[in-house]
Symmetry: C2
Subunit: 349 residues, 2 copies
């Protein structure tokens, strides 16, 4: 070993070699001890472990990953428009829950958007460069070329929201909340309390989740032998202001409706404000139900009735499943679950 060749300053970090030298054993023994390899005698193992902890030893993740081809890292792929969605709080809280679950499993998580600022695919980069062990897709429509890479490298993928594309094409594990049922429950509550004329506000560029909410809306009508008045079905972008404007513009028509179902809380809040400004009292003259159950809904007056998505459960299931797949306990099958949402009743309905 020619020391002179390597004049980068020596790291301060303690290595397995240091431990080996001090313990009078080889690095293999140190490695095996710290990894609880049963071939090492109990005494040796304990001695090494004690020494390691005295020396404040921590494995070098890079070296280990280079050797084992596992990085202990998971990519959390978010929509490119998370900033806009951030406003809804819902996704941020879901991310928080997922991070927490992964941390408990000893996995670090790198949150990315599907595409990097330079146009390159972030998924590609994280898979090829960082060698992430798994991927959790959060409402992301990942690119076709990404799928090739993911499949080629055999990386486990879990979805926690529908995706606009590639969904049926791939048999992937998922944990979704049931948006049809959510839409159904919300509409039922409105039909119960507000009569037969129930408006709804959906998204202009509806993704599958929104389409399912609408389907629930229609099925709730059908279940009672009714159909929605199509003039009461509105589509706007997901923002307070657009919902506000839409409701204001159609105030006359909405005066004939006994209830309104907005497919996101943000839109519900905008709608509710517009109703108030138009002199339509909520809930007396028109009930309102939103979707997502964000905390803001409890800060307005009247407080907002909303469909709650059990994100803690979704996060937990997704992370547990991912952990199982990572340790080879996948069972070969595909796990796909629909989690039922919960209607949280407050003053607006």
């Amino acid at each position: 070993m020619c020391k002179r060749l390597h004049n980068r300053e020596r790291s301060i970090a303690v290595t397995t070699r240091d431990i080996a030298r001090l313990a009078g054993v080889s690095v293999s023994t140190v490695s095996r001890s710290l990894n609880d390899n049963p071939r090492i005698s109990v005494e040796t193992r304990e001695r090494i472990k004690r020494l390691a902890s005295e020396l404040d030893f921590e494995f070098d993740a890079s070296a280990r990953s280079l050797s084992t081809r596992r990085s202990g890292t998971v990519a959390l792929v978010c929509p490119d428009f998370l900033d806009r969605f951030a406003n809804t709080l819902y996704l941020n809280l879901l991310i928080y829950d997922i991070r927490e679950n992964l941390a408990a499993l000893g996995l670090d998580c790198i949150v990315i958007e599907a595409a990097a600022p330079n146009g390159q695919s972030n998924v590609r980069r994280l898979v090829l460069q960082r060698k992430v062990d798994g991927i959790i897709l959060l409402l992301a429509s990942t690119l076709a070329e990404d799928w090739d890479i993911i499949k080629k490298h055999g990386i486990p993928v879990i979805q926690v929201h529908y995706m606009p594309t590639y969904f049926d094409a791939e048999r992937l594990d998922y944990y979704f909340t049931d948006n049809i049922q959510g839409g159904f429950m919300a509409t039922e509550a409105l039909l119960d309390a507000g009569g037969e004329r129930i408006a709804c506000v959906t998204l202009a560029h509806a993704n599958p989740e929104m389409k399912d909410r609408e389907r629930g809306y229609r099925e709730a009508h059908k279940a009672r032998g009714l159909h929605p008045d199509e003039r009461l079905v509105f589509a706007v972008s997901n923002s307070f202001d657009e919902a506000y404007e839409c409701v204001t513009r159609n105030a006359t028509l909405l005066r004939t409706a006994g209830g309104l179902f907005a497919f996101t809380d943000i839109m519900a809040l905008g709608a509710m404000r517009a109703l108030a400004d138009a002199g339509i009292r909520v809930p007396e003259e028109c009930k309102v139900v939103g979707y997502d159950d964000i905390e803001i809904g409890t800060y307005v007056k009247p407080t907002l009735t909303s469909v709650h998505q059990p994100r803690e459960e979704v996060a937990r299931l997704a992370c547990e499943r991912l952990a199982a797949l990572l340790s080879g306990k996948g069972g070969g099958g595909v796990e796909q679950r629909l989690i039922p949402p919960v209607l949280v009743r407050r003053e607006s309905c």
Copy 2:
């Protein structure tokens, strides 16, 4: 090279060796070419680069990091109670901004809390194991032992919010918004519009930032030769409900006040609701100003006047500075900047 020794299945990934073989050069030449080392001739370099991109080559981050001792990764240390703070939205958006800036700089970012679920320090783990290149502290009171590790390893640290402890002890780079000035501006606006009796709602367990807001509140009074009525200074936890209860309980007293300054928007919303419920009209009888300028403030009625913290700017400055330190362009000095906040006037004041 004894191939038989290594029977883990060969990775699908393209390596520098593959490129070298195909190009008929050595791995060193490949490495130098792809890293734009000037000692390689332009023709060779271009040829290698073309080949690499044809082969969909990406560097292996672990191998590179093992060699260079740089991981291209930054730790973003959050308060342990981010979930509670998440409700305020402000920190989530700040995290989003920071991630975006780091991404533009080619850095991945791992969001952690100071302490892991198992009680171990996450900072320690990320520094020792993952070899993060830098750390951004987000309102985190990092443990004393963490500081030892950080200093020992010479890792650049940037703070983007005050910390309760270790603050003066360390000469660290920071970008803070000026909470004294923020408190001053808010109070001034209230004194202008609501007369001499201005209440304030601070935090029960105030951190330095909250203390500064209170200082601004007092200095604004002093600047006009006034002092606040101490009976109008309340302290509650940072929640809608606590602020609501506090204001409700003290409604009689508050009837004599012309304005109220809540140190967070969440509290401001709770207070505003309580005032309304107590029959005190906002803003006619009592003006209200909050702090943080979260979007929810524009969804309530009246819309909330609030102190805006320029988080985009803070995020940008912090990340640029970190990048400079990482590339050794720190200049040896310490950069500490106070960014002025902005009062956003809406209906409540």
